[in-house]
Symmetry: C2
């Protein structure tokens, strides 16, 4: 039987594969993971790959010969016309008939990434600040002794209609020899009029990197500048966590260690960025020198530490930043190891605590173009809110959600990592819970397999919402002493109520996982602060109703939207109009990488968004106190009224049950 | 008798001076050299100083009290109205009557500077690219939480009507604390929209540095950006001379030592620039950090080595530069130690061998605005010519003068340094010479004092011109065998003719200094190449006459204009229309430092000047050969026709004398 060479990109793994093997099997045999949810039942359509035929042309093999079996009906059905045109196949349905080079797109790759900062699909076509142009020139003669720069400039203008007006000095130093060695046929990398690289011959594909520097997680996207596709994604913990978990503690660290503190934190993030650039480029088999531009976003503190700007004033009222406007800076001036002439674009901060990451969310979601009133909630270690429409304009505010939503200050709180309870349901009759643990495929059906370690943010929102829906806690968040469950008990030391979510034998920590009265309070504070912010914003825009809610951020994308509504995290909104958009900040950064108009829009909109400093509002405290108490008990939430109507009145039920049992006993 | 404190700027020397001492004496007693040609005869007007009264105001002393004796009639006569208004006095006529701070302007300072690259007076008012603006701001509040950058930007716009659109990252890092420590009262240094320095309080005076990097000499001017005055000047040898005396040998060095050769020569000039910056700033009692911008010029090879660009193609036809356009670059990217956010502006090259230094000459002399036809000759190691007028436009060319004019390839040639014969006259009757040696006050009257070492460029031009004028050599440059002088003899080894300029007892080298037939040929070649260039340029512009000749460059300023005309260095021109303008390249650089429109003009005019590559002209060789032979013998030079008419016909004279003596003897 014949064997053929099959190569999988971007990992570059290769090997001999027997004829007629399907590509999914071929991938597995070479250690390449391709997502397949249906288990080769040909129903999920997730195992897409892309056939790269250029490979064969390059080596002279006739590319007209099809090295895969023909199209199947299932593929015809499950692939879009665009995908078919771009030579996508389903790997479980295409069988090897010759040598192949295939590309496994990001969305088809397997792996156990816990920090799921996946890149979304971008809504704008590429029109990047960094462009490439292949030109051919005649060499200089005595009758045409133009300098090299002007010769390139003229060729760019004549052959592509683009203008170059300067050249980076480090690029200029290599240019003279490159032009001559490449026989005056080169590809020019042009960044806003500046020539930043002159590469020999014709370059077809080029890449940039977008990075969202979160307080906790750094997510980086190696992006194909011509398609906008994130070809490789990498996430890492922000190494600054050793200097402080949240923004305020890092600012404090910088203040307590003048000079050295900022230096250390700055150095740490630069090192991490350099590692990630190494990972991303190596995985795609390109080099650091192939990267000519990066776009970075982060909150105001991350922004300042990244640029080595004193962050202390960002941390105290009135929270002025050193620079709100977008910053363009040479990578070398920041110690970032990409091409020596490469540039870094840092998106604009908005105001106060609302940083460049929110600006990225803003231009990704474009509330200013919406006909409806949109509320965007980006929940990280802080909560940043945007609200408005094309008509009203957009206002923003920042609310101190505190660390509860990330698992801190919760008795059994933990980060969203394997072992964390991430989803919870409580039975309205028995008050018994069901839950799902990160890293386990199923809900807690098989006790022996559960091994819960704690509760992460989405789990804690779920459980508190469910406790309210089932009457375990009342509208003020207090435990209902009539709720009939052995899981409701008093903590021996404090005498405070608690609810047992997982008994010892379901955990890997040797003790029961409980939700305490204190935990409920912490969550009420966090959720109430968001609701109060939204109320102030609605009042500011004279608007009585939210048409659409967008939950952004890695955290937001894991939240149960119904739980959020029950908790009163935001004003009433039809369930079908509540969206989770994943890492919108990362997507916005990527958008600015590949589209210069969006970049301009970011700088403009950051200035146009009207920032509301909530502490300036005299009645904010009152609004906030009211919001803490499951706000829909006072404000109208028609969408969930039917659910609220069904909250059990345990006092009455218990009395009825007692009466019933008494009647039975009699 | 009373004593008062007198301080001399810029040296900062100070001391107690007795009442009624004149300032010239006071200066001498403190080791400050002030030029005084007339020896205090009150006739030369060279010993000007400027009284700085600000000093007294600063220390609370009433500045209305005159601390010098009153005006004298001689001063009234010798000082201009502007000088009087600016508190200039003649130091030999003003006597001390109280504490004083006086400034010794550049032109009044003594010293034995041999490389006289003096700064000229600039013809344009300051309107620099780098400006300073004092602003006062209100600190941020919750109701006005603008970022620091925007606060500055708004203040600049409101208080001065200027626009800032970015800030250098290294400046930004200090900005936050400076603003707060200075209580929001700062001086902003603005460079073409970029904030490059934010200094606390009000800064009144600021400086830039202009540098002319010659192949042999580097001249640097510390310049007051508000007045355009060169407050301190420094000159140094170009350290690259150890790698090769002229441009071509340095290019060869770079080619023979790939990488390392360029690296070394680049490093050498950067080190020298850094030393000179240190000297200039220390002498004026400011620091490197006070310098925010420098303008550099040099020929194309110096330009390339400065920027660490491969110079090899600049050295071979068709001589294309890597970049002709002006370059703006951060000083830190070039390793130049001025303020960390400071900028370097390198003027545009024109084309071929015609570099940024000639561009500086161009915009300083402005032939393109002239109604007359102007010929500008900048003689360095190469000769660069500009010719044209407002009507015709300007053409340029570069001629290979060779090193003869700088003393190389001349048997007793030497640089313009102490001991060099710099001026020569030959008596038309006796053929005996008179000459002047650099470092000696008088012509060779006192034999015991002469100590000549050799002949420098201006001397060799003089002597060859005089040899022609006195008939020692003929129109082809050959020695006239009839010329009756014991100084004309045959060199024993070669049998070639030579003329003894200085006998052994007038020299410090233990032998006669002679001018050989070979020396005459070398000078004819150098001078002929310039004339030939001028002829081609005139033909190109259809122009039969030169109205004005400008000799630029340190060398040009020492030439005897009459000798040049006799030699036929340039076409006929009335003596009163031949000017020496000193270091016009340095002046042009300084002009671009203090005037941004001139900078723009430089970039535009460098492109508009039409470069003539002489080797392209088929008959250039013929024109050149003809030019070598004292061109006015064939072309009409009416201006000097009367001199030419008087050249002795030694054959005839000797015969007549012989006949006379015969007659006497009979």
């Amino acid at each position: 039987m014949n064997e053929y060479t099959v190569i999988f990109q971007p990992s570059g793994r290769r090997g001999k594969i027997k004829e007629d093997t399907n590509l999914l099997e071929a991938a597995r045999s070479l250690g390449v993971e391709i997502e397949s949810i249906c288990g080769e039942k040909k129903t999920c359509g997730k195992c897409k790959i892309q056939v790269e035929e250029g490979f064969f042309e390059k080596y002279g093999v006739d590319s007209k010969v099809d090295h895969l079996t023909g199209w199947t009906k299932d593929e015809q059905r499950m692939l879009t016309t665009a995908e078919k045109e771009n030579k996508y196949r389903l790997s479980c349905l295409a069988h090897v008939k010759g040598d192949l080079l295939v590309f496994v797109p990001e969305e088809s790759r397997g792996g156990q990434q816990v920090v799921r900062k996946k890149a979304g699909k971008l809504r704008h076509k590429p029109d990047p600040a960094l462009t490439i142009h292949y030109i051919e020139m005649a060499p200089p003669t005595l009758h045409d002794p133009l300098d090299d720069f002007l010769r390139i400039k003229n060729a760019l203008k004549e052959q592509h209609g683009v203008d170059a007006d300067r050249v980076d000095i480090l690029c200029l130093r290599d240019m003279t020899m490159t032009l001559r060695k490449a026989d005056w046929k080169v590809t020019v990398f042009l960044w806003q009029g500046e020539i930043v690289r002159v590469a020999p011959g014709k370059v077809e594909t080029y890449y940039g990197i977008a990075v969202d520097i979160g307080t906790t997680t750094v997510a980086a996207y190696l992006t194909d500048m011509k398609t906008g596709r994130a070809v490789v994604t990498d996430s890492k913990m922000n190494p600054q966590v050793i200097f402080g978990e949240d923004v305020m503690s890092r600012i404090t660290y910088a203040m307590q260690h003048p000079g050295a503190g900022l230096e250390k934190m700055h150095g740490a993030i630069i090192n991490t960025l350099n590692e990630m650039i190494g990972n991303l480029t190596a995985e795609h088999m390109i080099t650091r020198e192939d990267i000519l531009e990066m776009v970075l976003v982060g909150n105001t503190a991350m922004h300042h530490i990244l640029l080595k700007l004193d962050p202390q004033f960002v941390g105290v009222a009135p929270f002025p930043t050193a620079m709100a406007k977008a910053v363009d800076i040479k990578a070398r001036d920041l110690g970032i190891n990409i091409h020596k002439s490469g540039n870094i674009h840092v998106l604009a901060n908005e105001a106060g605590f609302v940083g460049a990451d929110n600006c990225a969310v803003l231009i990704n979601e474009e509330p200013y173009n919406s006909e409806e009133m949109v509320l965007i909630i980006d929940i990280g270690t802080n909560g940043e809110l945007l609200f408005g429409s094309r008509k009203t304009g957009v206002v923003s505010c920042s609310v101190a959600t505190g660390p509860a939503l990330e698992g801190a200050q919760i008795k059994f709180g933990m980060r969203a990592a394997p072992g964390a309870i991430e989803k919870v349901e409580i039975d309205q009759e028995t008050l018994e819970p069901r839950f799902k643990v990160i890293g386990k495929a199923h809900w807690n059906i098989h006790i022996e397999e559960i091994d819960a370690k704690g509760i992460c943010g989405s789990g804690i929102i779920d459980v508190v919402a469910e406790m309210f829906r089932t009457g375990i806690i009342d509208k003020g968040g207090r435990f209902n002493k009539f709720a009939p469950s052995p899981r409701i008990r008093k903590e021996p030391d404090t005498g405070m109520n608690e609810y047992v979510l997982a008994y010892k034998d379901q955990t890997s920590i040797g003790k029961d996982i409980v939700v305490t009265q204190g935990d409920v309070r912490a969550i009420q504070l966090a959720v109430g602060s968001i609701y109060a912010g939204a109320v102030i914003m609605m009042r500011e825009l004279n608007c009585a109703k939210v048409d659409k809610v967008i939950l952004a951020g890695a955290f937001g994308s894991h939240l149960n939207q119904f739980s959020c509504l029950i908790m009163g995290m935001f004003p009433d909104c039809a369930m079908e109009n509540i969206y989770s958009v994943g890492n919108a900040a990362g997507d916005g950064a990527r958008l600015c990488l590949i589209n210069k108009l969006k970049r301009k829009e970011a700088d403009e909109m950051a200035r146009k968004v009207r920032y509301l400093e909530l502490t300036v509002f005299k009645d904010f405290e009152r609004v906030f106190m009211k919001a803490m108490q499951f706000p829909h008990m006072e404000d109208p939430f028609p969408t969930i009224q039917h659910v609220l109507n069904e909250i059990p009145d345990w006092k009455k039920i218990v009395k009825e049950r007692e009466a019933e049992e008494k009647a039975k006993a009699q």
